[in-house]
Symmetry: D4
Subunit: 250 residues, 8 copies
């Protein structure tokens, strides 16, 4: 219910086609998104076409199905993260448009794909970081960003990284994903002027502590310009990258 | 030594005005910034005018002076962070242009101020978060971003936050700074479409663990779109905000 | 052995029907519940009708059965927490009155339900927090509190929370349950005057550390008025809520 | 702006005494406190008479003075916590009514003392826990609770604790404060039916980790019914105790 | 090779019945247990009859069998800890004297039982602490201590503990085992004069951190006189208890 | 009020010299130390002559003085730990018998020294562990144990340790104190049959974490027979050593 | 493209057989290995014959196969670590030369074995440390080091260690592997002059924290001369040992 | 007392010039360094000329003086680490040969400098890492290694590092020192074939945790070949580097 609607309501009252009690009723029951608080939800309408995420871990299959159905009824695209094949199959039964991005462990249910804009580049240090990279890629893509990926350019073989230097410097936003010691973002941020999102992964063992080691490495990167995500949080990285990527993009 | 320089060198060889051994010599001793690796340093020239940061903590005053003098000799502006008044006085003796931003604990030595562009907004949850906010503000400002600040809009009094909702939604980049439980970024990110940089501060006591509590809160924000900095790292936040802010800005 | 018993004993001594050595013997072997220490156990009789909890995790099925049988023999209602379906089936074989609250993972064996009093409201940030909420609900209910629940009103969609503001402000006691970053209690406590019990859950990943992140968030909530429970401790929250709820309730 | 106000506005529109654009304007610019969101601030008016807390640690003396003056101008009582003697002197210069509670490290500026109601009892395990207990006592007192304290009844000399058993069982709310191993709340909660707020203190050394040991002890108390506060958070305990204490109190 | 042997050797040299090179050879190859370093191994012979422990966790079944066979060949009794039923069966195939203590998860292979001496008392706070208690009981028993156990006397029902006060005060050595918050040793140590060994167990959840909570509680017990073991280390507790118990015992 | 007193009371009732109501009164108001609970305090009288410890850290000088005076009035010897010279001077003003053990940072106020019995041996790995060793020595000594110390026999120069092997094996109880990596107890426990109390100290830097490293080393010692104390807890070690040492000692 | 190549290029330009644009092109597209940056890759050619490691954990079987095939195509030997039997079988299908070192959980694919040089000695404290030791042994061996192992010489039975003292002192490089309390390296480093690499293992329980306890012990060893590896990192230890071992070896 | 001495002793017995009891006596009282255990101390004589280190932190000045005097009396050179100027002055009073290495915070007392051999190279990421580097340099130097240092070649300006590539690849042993995120060793180890010792420093703030962040980074370096030292442990790094450097050096 936007300004036009309220204006119309007031005009009806003025014209006597709507009684005061009924108008009051409508105003009082109008969704909170209206009037002042509507500002909060300006972004909601803008989100139309933007999927709502469901973190599948910790939810039962029945709960996931119920949430997805609720979203689809309201025409909200669905982005189910950390979805195993069984959940994927269940969601495919909910909607034939459901696509299972297996490497990303995600299910996407979206009727019209947004036109890709901008330029998000995702790189990983190792092969085992790929699932997190894929989660970021799918997230930013379904939101409308153009995304590319380069895997396995860790610091151990610096030349592989330098081979891609041009590409790195050309991107609008970089997502750099690394497990183990997580040094890749520190090295990359010194080579580019681009905003850089660093994602530690839980790949490693021993004093890696399930991703704490690369997380700390990234938080302590002495060159500024790095925004750090939670361990394995490809979704968050994709989301933030998209928010940055659309700034003045075309 | 860019393409033009090398082309000129080759032409001299072709024209016989430069001997092969001398050309070889020049090519081999040309600084690493040239040829392929020059790409790395393309951004260096772009950094001209961008200050080089000196983290004063852990350095002796003599070391700080020496580094600052070295930078100034090469016309590189200086951004001394975590500088106490004594360091500030010493740097003012080095350059009369040195400005001490006391709240930010920073000394800036910069000959020409860049024209402010874009729109970075910094908000803090509490009064004690101001030094970190000031460090971010000065950093982004000297790099060339237009920056504004709103202090003390924590979640305890939600209305104060909502009073500024319009302003929050209008910014190109948001820096949200909070100590204690660090919930402000989580609340804000749901109200805006803007890229959001969250900075935990070490303000708090007990199970705050010097900023670990708000750091974890921010890393675990279930809404995506938040890039987290190290505890108290206002400099890094300002730097990243500037990198994002200049994307397509004017 | 209360005052009357001792008085009687003394009278027997006075009347010569009980010898001093035998009286001494009886006094020295009288159960600790008597005399001064009896105060400790005043509350015991008051607990009659209040179930005794059995934490099933870490116990064998045989041990659980044995404990339950012991309690039932003494007419003490049973509240088995963290009970899997197999334990539930075993307890149903022990008593036909056993009820399995599957979402709460609890088995209740109670002959007469206490009349619900007061008003405990339990809210959760997410869907995966429901098992902990259910554990709290069942606990407070079987102890005699009137309990209601509202699920899935996390901060990401603030409007969902605000929709329930009236209800939140009307409750006598609030239990607020959240995993991930655990910010919901901080936001709620600023909106109500009610005592608030916060329960972090282990739902999350990476730097969530199995619930440590929301635990720290809740402990550091800058608004006072929040009592924090152990991670996933729905039982404790229900118990404390009941203790508060019965203060002057009707 | 409540229902009546809006009804009146609509009537004016109906009667033609208010034009539609002007009505629209009024509706759109009405403060967020109105209509739906007004609920949020119902509790604000209720807070009148309740002091607003200023955590002095991490703030400059100038900042504290400024905040206090702001509050006093709006007739809001001031409760400055973690205030050293120098801050106390400064606040006394701001208001002659300022009282320095030295053991509690607090300054209270409140014109009329609320009539004490209910019964909050605070006990400490040791002598060094007294400052935290005093912070809780002053907080609950200035909010309007009747508060008593018993110090130094730790578990090492169990008899001292049992001497006070009657008193413990009679209180409406208990605050139990302990450092070192923090076992006192576990022992007390088994002896009473009262809601119990446990506060770990940072008193101890070595593997105490500045209060982490008693914090964990209290969070893991196997008897339910304990709400835990942050380490040394006497203010929060006093606040929560007051919220509980006023439930049906007189 | 003791003094007598060396004296005999020297006499043979003196008498010419042993050549110097052969004597030198014998002296140089005499086992390190001789001469000065023999002191180290004095205690070895004393250990005769004392079982050698094999921690089964982290070893393959083949490795365990091999170690056990090696020990038995040298007449050293075997004490296999953390042994699952499959290992127990395998060890029974190695020696018919092998006894599987199922609750203790131990296999004992010992030909002659030492005569029990002294008086070790083991108490547990809860039912789930029994396996650790059993490990301690079997260990101290096979070493030669008289051991008794009392289970389930936690602080929640203090009366159960006080019922056994006489017995507690009579023991030579106490082993007190508790998970969750681990407060039992603190309470007990104030009631007795006996040396007390505290064993935290990993029973608990959430902020229990697999036994860290009770470990810290026990390390911070403000009453002295408590020696703490590693989490779940029933074996170590039994061993230390035995060492203490045999001091002047009969 | 012991058995004799109660017997006497009963006899008075029997003889008619005490009325039943008065006897009942006396029995009901007799201090908790009587009857059953008196058992708890049997050990209290036994403690006569044993000093009561005051941990000075975290207490004001006034509080320490007050506690000491209270103890002395009841003829209880005082053992003030972590006492700085200023506290020592203050306590000397309270009692001329006060002795300041400077290395141990303790003040002892005790009229008659107990006759030393048994044999406690304290060894330290390094020179900086001496204060903790001294705290243990003074504690066990004033309780009545014969104590000797050997300093600086760390594992780096194994020969120094082996030089004292005889002495180590002869002691009734060993206290082994080590900072840094804390390996000394592990090495010693394999060389003796004696009960061994290990005390980690906070001496070290970096990943020592204020004594956490040696604490963990000691808790994980694979040879059993080690009871571990809190970091720097010389008092607790002395107390436990004394409890063990008096078992059958002479 | 070395100096000769560039010289030749310049000569062609001088002689007019190569146009300036084409020369420029060649210079600009010459691989980064050339000129200055070529230094980086000098070591690459030296690595010929040295296997490239694949950490199998966290990779799919398909990914491992693909990486191995890629390496083999380039004649790079393969060293797959943390390989389970299924991966071993798959790699054997890739190359008949693949050897599965089961205890080390490694697959080696190497055509010609390097001639063993130097002398690396690996010792373990316990039986369960063997897999880590085997990983180190295989790694150093396939790189070309002569390696020997001695298992099960922990500190509990010091004599077993001292039996091998000669051998320890003779080695060029020592790798010392220990779980539990991890004291073996501290003890050994004091007995030898050899460089010592310490590897903590995750063998242990409770306050071992998956190898953190021995890791800290090793980092805090007060005798210098110990280089510490990540928990369970046999591969890294083998690699470093080989780098040290080949210094002046033959 | 080596083989020759014992042979001589036996011959005296054979020849009747030494009685059996006297021979037995001599054999039994020969120092433990003889016979088998003598092996342990072979390295002791080899240490002659190698300084003995005194960690000054945690020791009183009197203790340091006493230890130094003891060493000097036995002609053992002294290496006092973490020595402040006051300690340096005190040691200069003990020996005029004492040299204070101020940047390294060390005092060296050594009569004859060993001839430098081999080639140890120490590099630091930042200026504030210099004290740790100096501690390593002085340690390795006084032990006899030729040492050079390059400061301030962190990853932020990769070119500075690459400028020194030749030098890095030429060294026998590398010590790489870094605080903050500690990524320098990971980057360097991929560029060289040299054994690399990594030292994390405590330089940093926030989630650096006093050096834990770079420590974890270094332990998790995915390229092998890195031996990690305790935080700030320059002494240990210098010692290990020397042990490696002398392998086949000249």
């Amino acid at each position: 219910m936007d300004s036009a609607t309220i204006k119309n309501l007031l005009q009806q009252v003025q014209q006597g086609t709507l009684s005061v009690p009924k108008a009051l009723d409508q105003l009082q029951t109008l969704p909170y998104e209206n009037l002042r608080f509507a500002k909060v939800d300006h972004h909601r309408s803008l989100r139309q076409g933007v999927p709502e995420a469901i973190l599948c871990e910790g939810k039962t299959e029945a709960q996931i199905i119920a949430i997805a159905k609720g979203l689809l009824k309201n025409k909200v695209p669905v982005l189910a993260t950390r979805a195993n094949p069984s959940i994927a199959r269940a969601l495919k039964r909910v909607s034939r448009r459901a696509v299972y991005e297996e490497d990303a462990r995600m299910v996407v249910i979206q009727s019209t794909l947004p036109k890709p804009q901008g330029d998000v580049l995702i790189i990983t240090a190792g092969t085992s970081d790929i699932p997190v990279a894929e989660e970021a890629r799918v997230t930013a893509s379904v939101m409308g960003s153009a995304v590319e990926t380069i895997f396995n350019v860790g610091v151990a073989g610096m030349h592989r990284l330098l081979d891609h230097l041009d590409r790195l410097q050309r991107a609008r936003v970089l997502i750099v994903i690394a497990g183990m010691d997580g040094v890749l973002p520190t090295v990359v941020v010194g080579l580019v002027k681009t905003p850089l999102i660093a994602v530690p992964t839980s790949r490693g063992y021993g004093a890696n502590f399930g991703g704490v080691a690369p997380l700390l490495t990234m938080l302590n990167a002495c060159s500024g310009g790095i925004g750090v995500m939670n361990i394995d949080n490809g979704f968050g990285a994709g989301h933030l990258a998209h928010r940055i990527n659309v700034l003045g993009a075309c």
